[in-house]
């Protein structure tokens, strides 16, 4: 009797976990769609200055990519070492891009 109750509790908990995972996926999709609409708004708005618009678009793209990697690619549920293995190398092109932007900015100032 107690075993049956525990088994039933286990199944219920499992279904809760599955429903939670689905709600999480739906929330991620909705957030991605909203962020894409914000991107469109930023890109098409004449009132936002070029550098501010460019910075906002870069940040929005990073936020969207992070959501995809963490939830759809399940990186959030991996170990810390796997996260570092995947994310640390991606810093290299990001730093390279920042250096190039700083270089372009410096040339523009001169």
């Amino acid at each position: 009797m107690a075993d049956a109750a525990r088994a039933s509790e286990g199944v219920t908990a499992e279904r809760h976990a599955e429903a939670y995972a689905r709600r999480q996926y739906v929330a991620v999709v909705a957030t991605l769609v909203i962020l894409t609409l914000v991107e469109l708004g930023v890109a098409r708005s004449a009132g936002i200055a070029g550098p501010a618009a460019r910075s906002a678009l870069v940040l929005l793209a990073i936020a969207k990519a992070a959501l995809i990697a963490l939830f759809f690619m399940h990186l959030r549920f991996e170990t810390r070492i796997l996260k570092v293995t995947v994310l640390a190398p991606l810093l290299a092109p990001a730093v390279y891009g920042l250096v190039l932007m700083a270089d372009a900015f410096w040339r523009h100032l001169r």
Binding site: R22, V28, A69, F71, F77, E78, T79, L82, G97
Partner: protein, 213 residues
């Protein structure tokens, strides 16, 4: 990594139950196939990073980025393609969850929907480039090799389109194996890493190529 038979245990509290690889001290329950796919994706991200940085350098160094006579890019149409790719990432992850829960029919339908979404994306890209129901960019004056903008546009979106085409073939191959009973939820999860990476990269392509003022 232990060589014991994979057990059937909870992957994480927020994820459905799935047959997982034996736990490793450093890499948890990630299988060698999953680690291999991650390493491939990181190296592939460098190739996209290189292309986008090249586009940025050419753009920053050119006095006139949009040459006279060249058309603007169809941002709204491409935003529609972006929504489509987001939806396919969603159907893909749902296919994995369905397979992990043993709902094979639902997993198969969701995988087929993901492949169909990928094909629709390619159709949309063909329309954008060459035109099907409206003139494409090539006919409007954006010709490969005529300007840095045209060349970087076709190389970057073409390279991404190639990834989508390979992804559709990969999905159909896994779907065929799944229907025969020789593919598992773990195979669908590894496939999902590749397919969501296609979406991951598109986020940056859409921002840097289409939206950046």
């Amino acid at each position: 990594m232990s060589d014991a038979t994979p057990s059937y245990a909870s992957h994480a509290t927020a994820l459905p139950r799935i047959a997982v690889w034996p736990r490793d001290a450093q890499y948890g329950t990630a299988s060698p196939g999953k680690l291999g796919m991650w390493i491939f994706l990181v190296s592939d991200a460098f190739s996209f990073g290189g292309l986008l940085i090249a586009e940025g350098i050419l753009r920053a160094g050119s006095a006139t980025w949009i040459e006279p006579g060249e058309p603007p890019l169809g941002v709204i149409f491409t935003a529609g393609l972006t929504f489509l790719l987001i939806c396919t990432s969603f159907t893909n992850v749902l296919a994995w969850a369905a397979a992990a829960e043993g709902r094979r029919r639902a997993a198969s339908v969701l995988l087929a929907l993901t492949a169909a979404g990928g094909l629709l994306f390619l159709l949309g890209q063909y329309q954008e480039w060459f035109g099907l129901w409206a003139p494409g960019l090539v006919h409007e004056g954006l010709v490969l090799g005529r300007s840095a903008r045209a060349s970087t546009f076709y190389v970057i979106t073409g390279y991404h389109g190639l990834h989508v085409a390979v992804g559709v073939a990969y999905i159909l191959a896994v779907l065929a194996r799944f229907l025969r009973g020789t593919a598992t939820a773990r195979d669908i999860e590894i496939l999902g890493l590749y397919w969501c990476f296609v979406d991951f990269v598109w986020v940056f392509v859409f921002s840097f190529v289409y939206l950046m003022p």
